[in-house]
């Protein structure tokens, strides 16, 4: 009887913990199956192209994305999300699509109005990690996956504490 109770307790605990996510904790992560349909350039997200970036469920990958964000100087134009010469990334307004596939295309092929193309410079795997991190900046990721505060000067709340911003499509600025 005692043994059955102990086994049941252990199984219950294990089940609860399993629900909490094993993939979240794997590290280092092998390249995940990429999102669907990203070989086409895209200038807007649309309902018939759902895209899932599996890295969004892995805390290590998102934290690597944050490392690359600083390393490749994304904050040179986007600051720490508040925007500078580039648009802010921590709000809900997206010009070229907020889904992972669109963000991937943005980084890889660049966009009009000044976003450079990094496809030749940053390996695809790392771009996917950057995509996951960029989405965490507006609170789109689960709090237990999104990065907590970095060991740096910290403007504002850590990504894991940001409320998900409602996504609004926004027209890109007109060239004059």
């Amino acid at each position: 009887m005692k043994r059955a109770m102990c086994a049941a307790c252990a199984a219950l605990l294990a089940g609860v913990a399993a629900l909490a996510g094993c993939y979240r904790e794997q590290r280092p992560v092998k390249a995940p199956p990429a999102a669907a349909g990203v070989s086409q350039p895209s200038f807007a997200a649309s309902a018939d192209r759902p895209a899932v970036n599996r890295y969004e469920e892995n805390a290590y990958a998102v934290s690597q994305g944050k490392t690359y964000y600083r390393a490749y100087n994304c904050n040179g134009c986007h600051a720490a999300g508040g925007g500078d010469s580039g648009p802010p990334l921590m709000d809900g307004r997206w010009r070229y699509g907020a889904d992972p596939a669109s963000i991937f295309t943005t980084i890889r092929q660049g966009r009009p109005n000044g976003m450079p193309a990094f496809g030749e410079r940053i390996p695809e795997d790392q771009i996917w990690q950057l995509v996951a991190y960029v989405r965490s900046m507006s609170g789109q990721l689960r709090p237990d996956v999104a990065p907590a505060r970095g060991d740096t000067l910290t403007p504002g709340k850590p990504e894991s504490r940001r409320k998900p911003q409602p996504i609004k499509a926004e027209a890109p600025p007109q060239e004059r």
Partner: protein
């Protein structure tokens, strides 16, 4: 330190206990001092070992003697309660003498430690070589600093130092706590983010000495080594002068193609090759890569085969590093490696 008889005896005791003789270079052995700092510590080690061995022998001897001479008829015997009423002056005195001896020996050890600390701090620093060492997960960035800043240069994972001249290493960390340890030359010092620490050493014998990170720093802590080549001053100055030179332009078509692969792809985002447009600061400086003995912070020998494998898939050799796999067409990889081999 003068070779007193005590030191000689302690040295014999130390050698007897030092165990297996190490073959193979480069050395990574605290018992084989190749520099003054490690020698000071080695002296203290010999003294401490000698004293501790004596104490161990004495106490275990007394213990075994007690067991040997006490009658073994205790089973079932009524207890001896004399000590509850009469104080055992003789025994108390013996314990007090033994304790007093320990106090004296401990004071001796403390004194020896203070003397050694003083000696380590008193390293003359005239004409020192200044190196700024920055720890990364999981490699070492070395910036040689000179009063004349035009003579500064940067390298990675392998240091050269002159024999007989002091070296002042300023330690900083880019991410987590690391620790620099070159056992043949000096004790270790931590690299702590947010702080600058200092290590002073001097090599007194030429040779190649291996050091390793000695503070757990994550996944590949085990594969974060560094090589220190101590060579005569003239050879060191020649090496340093060469390190200051930018990379020569590639001389063959294959190498030129390799340079294009390097500059046109992902490599230049992270690596620097002086004399080209590659000025990335995230990974090791590759300007004189071909002159190094190892790759990946002492993990792999630096030859064509390992270099190609490292570039194609570093994670097969050192899982978890920040360097990505590079799926290059075989011709491009061949050209790239040929180019890197020109970076002497």
């Amino acid at each position: 330190m003068a070779a007193t008889p005590l030191r000689y005896l302690a040295g014999i005791a130390g050698a007897c206990c030092a165990g297996t003789v190490l073959a193979g270079a480069p050395g990574q052995n605290a018992l084989r001092a190749a520099g003054i700092q490690a020698e000071h510590i080695g002296w203290l080690w010999n003294l401490t070992l000698g004293l501790c061995a004596l104490v161990f022998a004495a106490v275990v001897g007394a213990f075994l003697l007690a067991l040997w001479r006490a009658p073994k008829d205790g089973a079932g015997r009524p207890p001896d309660l004399a000590s509850l009423t009469r104080p055992e002056r003789g025994i108390h005195r013996a314990v007090a003498w033994a304790t007093g001896t320990c106090v004296v020996l401990l004071l001796l050890l403390l004194g020896a430690d203070v003397v050694t600390s003083r000696a380590l701090a008193d390293l003359p620093l005239r004409n020192a070589v200044n190196i700024e060492l920055i720890g990364h997960q999981w490699w070492w960035e070395a910036r040689y600093r000179h009063a004349d800043t035009s003579r500064n240069f940067t390298t990675a994972n392998e240091l050269h130092i002159p024999v007989g001249r002091p070296v002042v290493i300023t330690l900083a960390s880019n991410d987590v706590i690391h620790s620099l340890w070159i056992p043949n030359l000096q004790g270790k010092r931590d690299l702590i983010p947010g702080r600058t620490t200092l290590l002073r050493l001097r090599a007194d014998r030429a040779g190649v000495y291996r050091g390793q990170c000695a503070e757990f720093c994550g996944l590949q802590h085990a594969l974060m080594a560094l090589e220190v080549t101590a060579e005569p001053d003239a050879a060191y100055e020649a090496w340093a002068a060469h390190q200051r030179q930018p990379a020569p332009p590639p001389d063959s078509d294959t190498a030129r193609r390799g340079q294009q692969v390097f500059l046109g792809g992902t490599c230049m985002m992270c690596h620097t090759i002086q004399g080209t447009s590659a000025q990335g600061r995230l990974g090791p400086d590759l300007t004189h890569l071909a002159g190094r003995r190892t790759l990946a912070a002492g993990t792999l020998p630096n030859n064509r085969g390992y270099l190609s494998g490292w570039i194609a898939d570093p994670h097969a050799l050192k899982e978890g590093v920040n360097m990505p796999a590079n799926q290059l067409p075989p011709d491009d990889l061949h050209a790239l490696v040929s180019y890197l081999e020109t970076l002497k």
